[in-house]
């Protein structure tokens, strides 16, 4: 705690210093902070909203390359589009900062739950995302790749992607999220198995000043955020932000731990209530500095979560059961145009991750710890050849200096290294046909090498339609945890694990019906082999083995509509069937149906909005082959802001109709095979910018 405060203190001190320097400098155009607005020099007319009869001299002096870097204030127009969606070699969903505000999203899990074909599972410790009918219980999101401003967020011990309150960034700092479905290993390597989730942060230009935000909600939830952003000339900008969050959590009831219940667990006590066990506390800090193509960013986050479920056979109703995740990194990137149409991008980074798990057995703490430290560099070059090829080539190199795991029985210290090289060619064969061909080779000292290709054809047979034919393979490297974690004699390591592999075929059809209405349909099938599965030998000892297979296919349909009034609708339906071909059985935690509705209704133009969400998840099986019923959850958020957008207030209700439903749970929670989810909760939030 002490050093966290020291970050806060030093950041605060620097802020004060910055402000002092700023207001003392005559170049600021005005000595008094209060008159900065009116005192703006006459030669900076960038803020005018329309043509004033004379061209903007500031803009006129810029080259095309510089113009391309300018952010514009957009007008509402149905014609606006982002090329990436319609022409990307995958089926993409974009979530923007406005979506996050209007639907009151607080975590990435909230966001992913709203996305076509995605669903989440919460065991009161970690949020897990399921994609296309695949959501292994007890998995830590190792089959999606999470990128934050291009930096890999999945850590180097469990390869987990944090999507709950342990995510490294306050979601209020997100500008846009691009969720690309399908295999991405041909560009991104391991973990880009089902999807690549690329998060871009808000730029200093958008913040331009200080933002303070406060939020309160059910279960004594409090969140506070302070953000400062400043963009100067010559592409210089600075952003700094800090967030604190705490949620006391409710006193949760578990029938299996109620002594009154006939089949109660031997650990049952306290009438089945886990008092004060569901607490959640996190802090995070973020900083970014940019100048002339050079970007330096740093991220730090820590979260402590109470585990109220008595998982791993621990004592019930002891709030000292907890997990703590600490993650931080520093990333430096440099982008430069080195020749006609040739762009070079360099990146170096240093990452850390620490995990502590406190498990109480008859009052004594058993502590699991792991510690990862890694650094690496990437070089990427993109160039255009003969006007019809766009080639991207790159190499990556990573050193895992520490991948250590320990507890009272284990002291496993590891180092490993990996490198990769990739090449992708985008060929504009004709106006109606574009081909993407890519391949990447990954080498890791833990398992050896793997090659993953991707092939895509983007066809535009008529004016308003796009057809995408996609094929790709992807892999997930065995994590250090799966390879080496052991607690002899019952839990054994398996250093011979190989990567899991997936092959995916997909057909996507997109049609623009005009007037802001778009329809997307997708049909896919995939097969996974060498799934890393926890198995038990004849003596009852467990280890991870490359064992199971999965075959799946599915259909997704989505309608998107934007109204000129600022309203929007996103409606989707996903049907899928994922089975284990060796048993013919449906996978656990694999709903056959998912449906989502996301509506933004402007109640007063530009000022007051209602965000309505409806999410249906079909029946799912637990690992104990019990069927959990399907359910529909409704969330409502009301958001209002003033004309200048300096004050924004919102009130939200999650699970508006207090629907009772449960998510399947992994076997480590036995005797629980499912976990009851949150009922109706309320939250209110105010953000002030100045």
């Amino acid at each position: 705690m002490r050093s966290f405060r020291s970050i806060g203190a030093s950041a605060g001190f620097l802020l004060v210093l910055l402000t002092a320097v700023t207001s003392a400098n005559p170049a600021a155009g005005s000595a008094e902070g209060a008159t900065v607005q009116e005192g703006r020099p006459a030669d900076t007319p960038l803020s005018s909203t329309g043509g004033s009869g004379s061209p903007n001299q500031k803009l006129r002096s810029l080259s095309l390359e510089e113009l391309m870097e300018i952010e514009v204030q957009t007008v509402v127009s149905a014609s606006r589009y982002r090329q990436k969606i319609s022409e990307a070699p995958s089926s993409v969903t974009i979530i923007t900062a406005e979506d996050i505000r209007k639907f009151g999203y607080r975590t990435l899990a909230d966001i992913m739950r709203s996305v076509r074909g995605f669903y989440t599972t919460y065991d009161r410790n970690y949020q897990s995302v399921g994609v296309r009918g695949f959501g292994r219980l007890g998995d830590y999101n190792t089959r999606i790749l999470l990128l934050l401003d291009g930096h890999r967020v999945n850590e180097a011990i469990y390869a987990s992607a944090p999507i709950g309150t342990e995510f490294v960034l306050d979601v209020d700092l997100i500008e846009r999220i691009e969720i690309s479905r399908g295999p991405g290993s041909s560009l991104y390597g391991s973990n880009a198995f089902f999807a690549v989730v690329s998060i871009l942060t808000r730029r200093a230009k958008d913040i331009a000043g200080t933002e303070l935000s406060a939020e309160a909600g059910s279960h004594a939830l409090f969140k506070g955020r302070a953000t400062y952003g400043d963009a100067g000339p010559a592409g210089t900008s600075t952003t700094i932000s800090a967030t604190g969050y705490r949620n006391r959590g409710g006193n949760l009831y578990f029938r299996e731990f109620d002594p009154e219940y006939a089949l109660a667990d031997p650990r049952a006590t306290n009438g089945g209530y886990a008092d004060n066990g569901d607490y959640d506390r996190s802090r995070s800090g973020y900083a970014r500095f940019e100048r002339n193509g050079f970007q330096l960013s740093g991220v730090y986050a820590e979260r402590t979560k109470g585990v109220p479920t008595a998982s791993y056979g621990t004592d019930f109703n002891d709030p000292a059961n907890l997990t703590r995740d600490v993650r931080g990194y520093v990333d430096a990137q440099y982008d430069k145009r080195v020749g006609e149409g040739v762009d070079l991008s360099l990146r170096v980074y240093y990452d850390e991750y620490r995990f502590t798990g406190d498990y109480l057995y008859t009052g004594a703490v058993y502590r699991d710890q792991s510690e990862g430290m890694w650094y690496g560099s990437d070089v990427r070059i993109s160039t255009r050849l003969l006007n019809i090829h766009r080639v991207i080539a790159g190499v990556e190199n990573e050193v895992n200096a520490r991948q250590d795991q320990y507890n009272i029985d284990l002291d496993d210290r590891r180092r490993s290294r990996s490198w990769a090289a990739y090449l992708q060619d985008e060929i504009a064969v004709s106006a109606a046909l574009r081909i993407y061909a890519g391949v990447r080779y990954d080498y890791a000292s833990t398992f050896g090498g793997t090659t993953n290709p991707r092939l895509a054809a983007i066809i535009t047979p008529y004016e308003h339609g796009v057809i995408k034919l996609l094929y790709g393979s992807a892999f997930r490297a065995p994590s250090v945890y799966e390879l080496y974690y052991a607690a002899p004699p019952t839990i054994l390591s398996n250093p011979d694990l190989q990567p899991e592999k997936i092959k995916t075929y997909e057909l996507v059809y997109e049609h623009d019906l005009g007037k802001g209405l778009r329809v997307v349909a997708s049909r896919y099938s995939y097969s996974i082999r060498n799934l890393i599965t926890e198995t038990y030998d004849s003596l009852g000892n467990s280890s991870f083995q490359n064992q199971e297979r999965t075959e799946a296919s599915g259909t997704e349909i989505e309608l998107l509509k934007n109204w000129e009034s600022g309203g929007s609708a996103r409606v989707s339906c996903a049907l899928q069937k994922a089975t284990n071909p060796d048993t013919g059985e449906l996978l656990s935690n694999s709903p056959r149906q998912l449906a989502k509705v996301n509506l933004v209704v402007p109640l007063f133009p530009d000022r007051f909005f209602a965000g309505i969400e409806e999410q249906y998840t079909g029946p799912r099986y637990t690992d104990t082959v019990q069927e959990l019923g399907g359910f529909a959850v409704t969330n409502l958020t009301l958001l209002g802001r003033n004309q200048q957008r300096t004050v924004e207030a919102s009130v939200g209700v999650d699970n508006l109709f207090n629907k009772k439903y449960a998510d399947p749970a992994s076997q480590v929670l036995l005797p629980l095979d499912s976990v009851q989810q949150e009922g109706r909760t309320v939250r209110a939030k105010v953000t002030y910018a100045f």
């Binding site: 970050i7 900076t44 329309g50 043509g51 803009l59 800090g285 500095f289 006609e340 149409g341 005009g514």
Partner: protein, 199 residues
């Protein structure tokens, strides 16, 4: 506890301090200038793009049947614009020793006299007819509507993360006898058609 989480904190705190020290070294004016200035309007920037496009396009010596006076580039706009004023600001501007003359067209048939024609999203439904009228004419067509480049408009602007980008249909530009400079082709997001003029 062997590994105190404080170590991570200290390292990241140190990194944060380095970061902001670097920020301070940039000079205070970087922080002070243009505080709270909002971004320029979309069509102001798009107008500047149009201005720049014209600089990087070469028209054939013959064409327009002598309908355009010497020293003048006729810049026409067909369809409704969300922000007319930003384009109006281009009227009379000088480019490579010539003056831009802005004309808002009412009928697509009038477009044959234009060297530059901006087609707004409202003409989307009649786009094939408009392009038919221009067949063989050295008219640079520009738009900002999804699918326009694919459908034959030579330069089509779009927004990517609030920044203006553009696609080029080199095939139709080549067919019209226009030479688009390699520089512009290189900056394009997507090139449609194999260019016979660019390289």
């Amino acid at each position: 506890m062997r590994s105190d989480t404080g170590t991570v904190r200290r390292r990241v705190a140190a990194a944060a301090i380095v970061l902001f020290a670097a920020g301070l070294l940039q000079g205070a004016d970087a922080f002070a200038a243009e505080r709270r200035t909002s971004a320029p309007a979309e069509y102001q920037v798009k107008a500047e793009f149009v201005y720049n496009f014209i600089k990087f396009v070469e028209w054939p010596l013959r064409g327009h049947g002598g309908n355009v006076p010497e020293g003048m580039i006729r810049f026409c706009v067909l369809g409704e614009l969300p922000d007319k004023a930003s384009f109006e600001a281009l009227d009379g501007q000088e480019i490579m020793g010539k003056h831009l003359s802005l004309v808002f067209l009412k009928k697509s048939e009038e477009s044959r006299v234009c060297q530059v024609l901006f087609l707004s999203s409202t003409v989307s439904n009649s786009l094939p007819e408009v392009l038919e009228v221009l067949q063989g004419q050295p008219t640079l067509t520009i738009g900002d509507t999804e699918g326009y480049a694919r459908r034959g408009v030579m330069i089509n602007m779009y927004l990517d993360n609030k920044r203006v980008r553009f696609n080029i249909n080199a095939e139709t530009a080549g067919a019209a006898g226009l030479r688009i400079s390699t520089k512009l082709l290189n900056l394009a997001g997507t090139l449609y058609g194999v260019s016979r003029t660019g390289k």
